[in-house]
Structures are given as structure tokens and as C-alpha cells.
Symmetry: C2
């Protein structure tokens, strides 16, 4: 008899975004007229087209695939050298950071990598993660059998949740207990918070002392405007020995539909066997990539390379500036509506506190029904997200301005 992986049965059946979609569908069916001017600021998906430099590179790569002499079949599973070199140079060496091209692994998405990284880690690790949290970190640990069934609050025993709120600026301090693997995400999804050099240094020190590993998700790095905020965990001395960094082209180049990201696994990062022998994780991740993956589409890798050209950089800057200006409009609109607002300065997300006594889902329903705007209820990201909601700045300027106006007309 074939057995299934029972840990999947512990997962809550309704993932956040399907439940949002369900409520939006019901609303649209019941209110066809209002549905016509519905504005979606829920899911964090880009809205602007791909930059011209990317479009040009794609067409050229497609033409190469049409001729026998320039056709490309299987590429290197880790990614083409041309792209890994461009990443190493622009994202790291130009910032004075020592990351070699062969420490970079090109993939089809950060979500995939954040999940797949558990493949090369032991099941006995004690896992820490922020709350509120990107649900993928939690769910992939549940699937891997690292938790018991969820408790009444929706938390999974077996994981250590590090509360984030206005009190700590949404950046947890390292805890007194020993954790082995800690997920950190800055600029943060969903709160839009960033971590300072001092805060990240505290985590690198903690990891060094405990031989722990930081899984550092920097998918929103391009949105950092404050010159004092680190763009990479490797700006912190000692991070090459304790951190894996996840980056994405989704939110800078607008690649959510094209699919390309990368993960940095420094060769100096060690982990341990059960009997205490240290070993580099790099060859394990390389082995995973070459056995369970076949590389990213050649044409997409050429598109990602184009983001690092002079034109590409200018065009990415314009995209980011567009979304950040939206964030500013939304932030001011929410403030003018009397809400306490976080994020939106170094991130494309506004994290707003609903008026006292109103839950996240009540806020969701009010904003949907009264303002005809879709946001994301904070409770969907964990216990400490209760009472908050996320507004995405991925939209047209006109829509951002309209949402700002509608928020101010809300009667809570």
C-alpha cells in the first residue's frame, strides 16, 4: 500500500490568498456595479510591463534559439556563467562584498528556493521565524515534518515564533534559547520594515556563537532607500560563515511572470552531521540543484542579465521609483485616514494598524465593501499580524491615488 506524507494533512486547508479570492468573488457577484471599480492592493504582484532592455534581450535570445549554430539545449543547472558573473559583480563585488560566481545559484524563484533549502538541512534543527511571517517558511516546515498539528491560534508547535510589532520596530532580537535555523526577511514582507546594521549584526553574532544558520530573504532589497540600511546580509562581518541569502528578479525587474531568482550559498558556510562533524553546505546544495533541477530557461537568464546593463539599471530604477512613489501616496492617505502606518519607505508594502477593536478580517471586509479595495488581512501572516493589514503599492499611480482617497472616506 502506497503511503502519503501525512504532514501535509496538518496544513490549514485555506491558504491566505485563496480565502481572499473567495471573499472577493462573493462580493463581486453580489455587487456587480461596485465590482467594476474594485482596486486590488492584495497580492504583491507587479503591474508594470517588463523594461525595454529585458524585452530586447528576450527577443534576441529567442532568435538565437531559432538557429542551429546558436541554439542552446541543457544549460548548467546552477545557471549560466554570464548571469552568475553579472550578479557577483553588480550585487556583491561593486559593494565590496566577497561573493564568487560559483557561490550563486540561479533558480526560477525565491519561493522555490526558500522551500527547497530544507532538503539539505537536517530534521533535528530548531527553527525560528518571525511572526508575522511569509507563510511559505512555515508551511514548508510543516510539510517536512518539523511540527505538530497547529494549535487553536494557528501556530505550529515545534517552531519558535519571534514576535514582531511596533514595540521592536518589527525586528526581533535574538532570543535567549538556542535556535539552529532562523528565517529573516528584510525589507520585510508583510510589514515593510527594514533591519539596521546593528540589528543584523546582533543576529550574525548570535548565529556565530550558536553555529546557527540565517536564511536571509532579501527579495525586496531594491526598495531600500535609506543609505544606512544593508542591502545584503554579507555586509555584516561573519555572515559568510552563517548566512544563506535569497534574492529575486520578481520585484525589481518585474519578473513575477518570467521567473528568475538566485540564492547565495557561501563555500565557507558549514553545518554539522549528527555526530558533530562539520561539512560545507555548498556541495550539498549543488548536488540538489543538479539532481532535482535542470536550470532556468536560457531566454529568461538572458533577460535577467539585461537588468545589469546600463539601460537595464536605469529602467529598473524607474520601476522601483514608480512603486515607491505609490507607497508614499498610500502611506500618506492611510495616515490622513487616522491610521497608524508602518513600512512603505524602504519597501513596496504599507502595514497599517486597524482602529482599536477591529480585527484584520473585519478591516478586510470593511475596506472591500465600503472602499471597494482589496487588501491583505495581517492575521493571515500569523498571530502578531492580528489587527493589522497590508496594502501593496504594486499598481498604477492613478489607482494608488484613488485608494488613498477612498481610505480617507472610510467610516470605521
Amino acid at each position: 500500500m502506497a503511503y502519503l506524507n501525512e504532514h501535509y494533512l496538518k496544513l490549514k486547508s485555506g491558504y491566505l490568498f485563496p480565502e481572499i479570492a473567495r471573499r472577493v468573488n462573493v462580493f463581486c457577484q453580489d455587487n456587480p456595479k461596485a465590482a467594476q471599480h474594485l482596486i486590488r492592493c492584495g497580492i504583491g504582484d507587479v503591474t508594470e510591463p517588463l523594461p525595454p532592455a529585458v524585452i530586447g534581450a528576450l527577443h534576441q535570445a529567442v532568435d538565437e534559439m531559432s538557429r542551429r549554430e546558436t541554439f542552446r539545449g541543457y544549460g548548467p543547472e546552477q545557471g549560466y556563467e554570464f548571469l552568475r558573473e553579472a550578479i557577483a559583480q553588480n550585487d556583491y563585488r561593486d559593494r565590496g562584498l566577497e561573493i564568487a560566481a560559483d557561490e550563486i545559484f540561479v533558480s526560477d524563484g525565491s519561493k522555490c528556493d526558500c522551500g527547497n533549502i530544507l532538503d539539505v538541512l537536517g530534521h533535528q534543527n530548531r527553527i525560528g521565524l518571525m511572526d508575522p511571517v511569509y507563510p511559505v517558511y512555515v508551511d514548508t516546515n510543516v510539510m517536512a515534518g518539523h511540527t505538530a498539528a497547529a494549535d487553536e491560534s494557528g501556530a505550529y508547535p515545534g517552531l519558535t515564533y519571534l514576535p514582531c510589532g511596533p514595540g521592536n520596530g518589527f525586528v526581533p532580537q535574538p532570543p535567549p534559547e538556542r535556535l539552529d535555523i532562523i528565517y529573516l526577511c528584510y525589507p520585510n514582507n508583510p510589514t515593510g520594515a527594514v533591519a539596521t546594521r546593528e540589528q543584523l549584526s546582533a543576529w550574525v553574532n548570535y548565529a556565530s556563537k550558536n553555529q546557527a544558520i540565517l536564511l536571509y530573504d532579501a527579495a525586496y532589497e531594491a526598495y531600500i532607500t535609506d543609505p544606512e540600511i544593508p542591502h545584503s546580509i554579507y555586509e555584516i562581518p561573519g555572515a559568510r560563515e552563517c548566512a544563506i541569502e535569497f534574492r529575486s528578479f520578481s520585484k525589481n525587474g518585474g519578473f513575477t511572470g518570467l521567473r528568475c531568482a538566485f540564492t547565495v550559498v557561501p563555500k565557507t558556510l558549514l553545518a554539522s552531521t549528527g555526530n558533530g562533524q562539520s561539512s560545507s553546505l555548498h556541495p550539498l546544495w549543488l548536488r540538489r540543484s543538479s539532481t532535482k533541477f535542470n536550470g532556468v530557461s536560457y531566454v529568461v537568464q538572458r533577460a535577467a542579465e539585461a537588468l545589469y546593463t546600463a539601460d537595464g539599471k536605469t529602467q529598473v530604477r524607474q520601476l522601483i521609483d514608480h512603486y515607491l512613489a505609490n507607497a508614499s501616496v498610500l502611506r500618506e492617505g492611510a495616515r490622513a485616514a487616522g491610521l497608524e502606518v508602518f513600512g512603505g519607505v524602504n519597501a513596496p508594502y504599507i502595514w497599517a494598524q486597524a482602529p482599536r477593536g477591529i480585527t484584520s478580517w473585519q478591516a478586510f471586509d470593511s475596506i472591500l465593501h465600503e472602499a471597494n479595495v482589496v487588501i491583505t488581512p495581517g492575521a493571515g501572516f500569523g498571530r502578531n499580524g492580528e489587527g493589522f493589514f497590508r496594502v501593496s503599492a504594486f499598481n498604477s499611480r492613478a489607482n494608488a491615488e484613488e485608494v488613498a482617497r477612498r481610505l480617507q472616506r472610510l467610516k470605521w
Copy 2:
């Protein structure tokens, strides 16, 4: 202290193809003149450019991504409806097979899916696989902790190897013992063998009786020329209740560098919890896909869709006919060289038996040094591959003809 997944340390360090590459490099450095006319028939990678229908669809999809009105961000993780519908209609319904579009999962490669499928299966399953075997089936089970360390022959205790050879036409019969998960690959890589309706029926009956699951890898389905040979496991009554099918656009459309494949998980396929409760695997695989994957690039899905147009079908047929004609040339060449030859009729691989007493790697070295041709030693696919070698038909006609000539000049 962070722990690594120790099961990775059981993997043999030299994967087959890196070892081949190493020997080829040494040869080329030592023999620069001979290296100039080296012909590669090793790795199964296509050589011909993408069909014009695909190129046209790619350019059009790229243009869509350049305009705000037609830009696509995140797509459905399971794949766009337009592609899943085209697959369901052309690959299944047109053959009278009941597979719904929502039972199809579009992915970036069959290799990924063959590995990832273990995520939704329990660790207590008894695993059966053919020998010789596509190494990914073995290695992903080692990584998941389903085996002990390899024995001296390279086999992993904990897996049940089903010997394949000339005696059984490279199609194993179901064993007397109970297995829970069985990998079957037809047309077979590496042997080029196909399974008849009767042979597949025996496996479906076995799986039904034992509530086992067949993982049916049909990546080379397009090469079947014999009208009596099933193209899909779902041609066998009862397979919807016991089989998952893996398909790929790599070897029909030439997508090895573009990346697109699909997996069929029928909703009627059940697996069991540890305490004997049956549950459908479909929602688990859907949950895995939406949590650990973000869908295939939109432009690549449009490219795959184009393979199902009238022009696309004609162009794919021409590609397949080209490679199959190469296979025929190689097959006749190897026969004329006095070798016993299998495969190459319904598959792009020739499986040749080296003269008595010559090992696979000796054959590899002889053919490299004397004929300046790269083949794949059969022993790299398992114990029962010893004494055989694989010749890939993915090449130009001129190269295939030259290889056929050179094989005949070999002095063993």
C-alpha cells in the same frame, strides 16, 4: 548548531556525466588534433533549433509582456488553463483517455517532478525501480533517506532493483514481493526499450492488487513508432487509480534549454496514511505546487502551447523523424560493426552490448580514443547496465552517419 541532511553524504561523489566530462577533457588535452573531430553522442540533449511555431509564439508572448495591458505577472502555479487544456485535449482526450485539465500540472522539467513527487509520499514506502535506471530516481530516494549507504556494487540497500536485460526485453515483470512505489520509464532511458500493452497491464494489475503507485515516466513518448505500443499509462484500464505520469516538452519540441514539462495526477489516485485512511494525492500535489513553486514562465507556456497547433505538430513530427532516422543509421552502423543492438526504433537511444569481456567503461575509453566518439557507459545506469553502452541519436544526420562509419572501423 545547524545540522545538514546526512543522507546526501551517502551519494556517490561522481555523478555519471561529470565523470564522462572529465575523461573527455583529459582526452582532448592530450589529443588536440583528434579532439577537433570529436562527436558527442553522450548526454541526451537535442541539437536542432526550436520549431518556427515555437519561435513565433515566443516573440508574440514577449511583446505581450512589453505592454501594460497585456503584461502577465504571477500565473497559476499549476500552469495556465490554455496550456493544460491543450494538453488534456491533444495528449489524452484525442486518444480517448479521460484526463481533465485540472489533473495536469505544468512544471519546468520532468527531472524536477520525478524528484519532487517524493515530497508528497511517505517515507515508509517500499520503492522499486528498474536496473539499469535513470539515476535521478535513485539519487532522490537516497537524499530523502530511503536507503542505507551504497554497497560495493554501487546499489543502495533499501531499494528494490528490478533487473532488465535482453532476457526480459528490458521490461521487468512485477515481482512476487509487495512494493508500494514503482518507477517505470517507457520508452526507456537508457535502453530504448518499450513496454507492450500486456506488460503494462501486468503492472497496473499488480499496483491495483497491492494498492501501489506507478510513477510512469513517458518523457520519450513522442518517439513511439509502433502503433501497438501505448503512449500513456492511462491507456491501461485501472491506471487512473494507480499511476502518475510524467511528460516533457524537452525531447519532442526541443525544450531542453527552454524548460517545460507536465505531470498528471488523477483525482482518483489514492494513497494511505499510516493508520490506513485513504486520501487523494491530488490535493497534496496541488498544495506542494502552490507552496514550493510559482509556475512556469508565461512566455515558455505560450511556446509549449504552440506545439499543439497544426504547424507545431507538423514541425515536431519533422524533428522526431530526424532523430529517429539518425537512430536507424546508428543502429545499422552498430550492427554492421558486429554488435548486438537494442532500442533505437521507438526511442532516440541505441543500447549496444560491448563484445564479451569488455566492460562499459572500457568500451567508453576505446570508442573515445579510437573512434573519437563520446557515448555513455551502461554501468553508469546500474549493475545491469554493465557491458552495455548508450548512443544518443540527438545529432545532425552527417554526424550520425560519421559515427556509424567510425563504429565499423573499431578494433575491439
